[in-house]
Amino acid sequence: MAGPLISVRNATRIYGKGEARVAALDGVSFDIYPGEFVAIIGASGSGKSTLMNLLGALDKPTDGEITISGQALSKRSQRQLADFRNKIVGFVFQQFQLMPRKSALKNVMMPLQFRRPRFSDEKERATQRLNDVGLGDRMDHKPTQLSGGQQQRVAIARALVGEPEILLADEPTGALDSKTSEDIMALLHQLNDNGQTVIIITHDPEVADAAKRVITLRDGKIISDQTRDMAA
């Protein structure tokens, strides 16, 4: 087996100082290998989002090291981190974070304008991704003209358009009803079946049950890390 895609060592993230000091993440270590589907669960405030933001290089750990694709994030410059976010990871937010005034297609194309070198077929790639998530007929719709589930599909298409090595999703179904959630989860599993590494935060036990591996956090620490044999 190849080496880990993600290696987290003693990752710590502390907010505030003195009285207000909160260790949102408190010395967390684990590895993730290519092609895994990992669910991170835990009570609200247990540090799930904090961990996810560190993996996506949206935030920096106070202590510890995160190594992705063999590159230690702490040793990367601002510019390299930007390229990392653009190329290596695709991030799906709980609140979708779409540009409200841009069409679905424009939203999906957005990360491509930061790619260096740029692709010559940005529009085709974005269209392809929208087709993949089942929104080929909604490309010119603005987010406000789409349902929650459709908006999250646009966000997933946007996260995938740069062909990232890892798809990170922070409670992607948190704002959706259960039927729509199932659809989104099916989509993510389908992606994983095609080899996409997926890490997902969830509250939903059903969602967690469907994952091959579940990491449970409590008070910023990992209290369990279970891999199940899905074949059984």
Partner: protein, 409 residues
């Protein structure tokens, strides 16, 4: 092929069009700012120019000298007129536009229709130029008439109206002290009153030589050669020098020792000049204040609108960074947006400002002066406010970690 500049501008334009309300409000702020600065400065510069023109007008460039017959020195020394030689010397000074000297006195002039009390002036050929008089009809008094001591006269328009109501004065005859004069010319109306409150067009001009030989000869001022000399400088700048030169010429001509007080007086319009200069300074200050206030008002408006949007834009910046934008991508995008916005609004503002100041000027018959300085100032000011208010928040937001910027709700 992709041209990076075009892509950036297209995307910035798209971003502006996506928020039509905000874009329109911001543009309005900049446009009003530019209009206010441009109109006030253009009208102000025009006003200054008009004052400058006044300052350069003949009357503001005039110096006159006359023998001093008041004060203590008159008791010690007899009152002495100037000589034609003095006049010649003054005429040849550097910076003198015109210098004229003559004699004058008030007489009752009689025509067939009426009689009229008016100022009769014995003049030389420089007189019309120095007084800014031009002929309306007929011909001026020339060297020929002066040499020949002819009994001819040129009449001012208001004297002509009184002596020859509803008649062409040219070719008519008048009698002054019973001496008949033939009128050969009529001057154009100068209009208004002199600074002494005198009707500027009530006069009759005759050759100086004729006056000396036949008219003023019986008068109290009989033996004076040239009673007063009027000098017009080429511009404001030379007046001081001319005054100094006149002083030198007169002291020598009149045999005054350096410590003797002068027995002549030099009148100038320096008081008027000072008043003009003061007015000019006031106008400049008012314009500056107006321009400054309108600039601040416009600028505050623009900043308000832009800053009101910082939250939304900060989130956008966070999202862009999360999707892989480098800091330079963010800065370039916001800079392009701000520049586009201010340049387009600035141009609209200048065009509207032009029409507005033109209209205002037409209404109030004011003078306008458009200068590159004013255009650059109006434009530059809007540019700076636009860039500062559009760019500084983006600059700050681009420094945040993506999570921090995204958290901005």
């Amino acid at each position: 092929m992709r041209i990076p500049g075009v892509a950036i501008i297209t995307s910035a334009l798209g971003s502006l069009i996506e928020r039509p309300f905000r874009t329109a409000l911001t543009m309005l702020g900049i446009i009003f700012g530019v209009i206010a600065v441009f109109v006030s400065l253009s009208l102000g510069e025009g006003g200054k120019e008009r004052i400058r023109e006044n300052l350069d007008s003949v009357s503001a460039r005039t110096i006159s000298i006359s023998p001093n017959w008041t004060g203590r020195s008159s008791r010690q020394r007899p009152w002495r007129p100037f000589t034609e030689n003095d006049l010649l010397e003054i005429q040849s000074l550097n910076g003198v536009y015109a210098a004229t000297g003559g004699l004058d006195s008030t007489y009752t002039v009689v025509s067939e229709a009426s009689d009229w009390s008016t100022n009769v002036r014995g003049i030389d050929t420089s007189y019309l130029k120095a007084q800014e008089l031009v002929m309306d009809r007929g011909i001026p008094i020339s060297d020929f008439e002066i040499q020949a001591k002819s009994a001819v006269a040129v009449i001012g328009s208001s004297a002509a109206r009184s002596l020859f109501p509803n008649q062409d004065p040219v070719g008519q005859r008048v009698k002054i002290e019973n001496i008949p004069f033939r009128i050969i010319g009529l001057t154009k109306e100068k209009g208004g009153e002199s600074w002494r409150g005198r009707d500027e067009d009530n006069f009759i001009l005759i050759p100086r030589t004729t006056g000396r030989a036949r008219l003023f000869g019986d008068h109290r001022l009989a033996r004076q050669q040239v009673r007063s000399i009027t000098i017009v400088g080429e511009n404001q700048g030379v007046l001081k020098q001319i005054e100094d030169d006149i002083d030198r010429i007169m002291r020598r001509s009149r045999g005054l020792t350096p410590d003797e007080p002068p027995d002549y007086r030099i009148f100038n319009f320096s008081a008027n000049r000072q008043a003009f200069a003061d007015t000019m300074r006031t106008v400049s200050l008012v314009i500056l204040a107006l321009g400054g206030v309108s600039l601040i008002v416009g600028g505050v408006g623009v900043m308000n609108i832009m800053l009101a949007n910082v939250t939304e834009r900060t989130r956008e910046i966070g999202l862009r960074k999360a999707l892989g934008a480098r800091r330079s991508d963010i800065l370039l995008q916001f800079l392009t947006e701000a520049i586009l916005l201010t340049v387009i609004s600035g141009i609209i503002g200048l065009i509207l400002g032009y029409f507005i100041s033109q209209t205002v000027a037409d209404m109030d018959q004011m003078k306008i002066k458009y200068s590159w300085t004013v255009i650059m100032l109006a434009f530059g000011a809007s540019f700076v406010t636009g860039i500062i208010s559009g760019f500084i928040p983006a600059f700050n937001a681009s420094r945040l970690d993506p999570v921090e910027a995204l958290r901005n709700e």
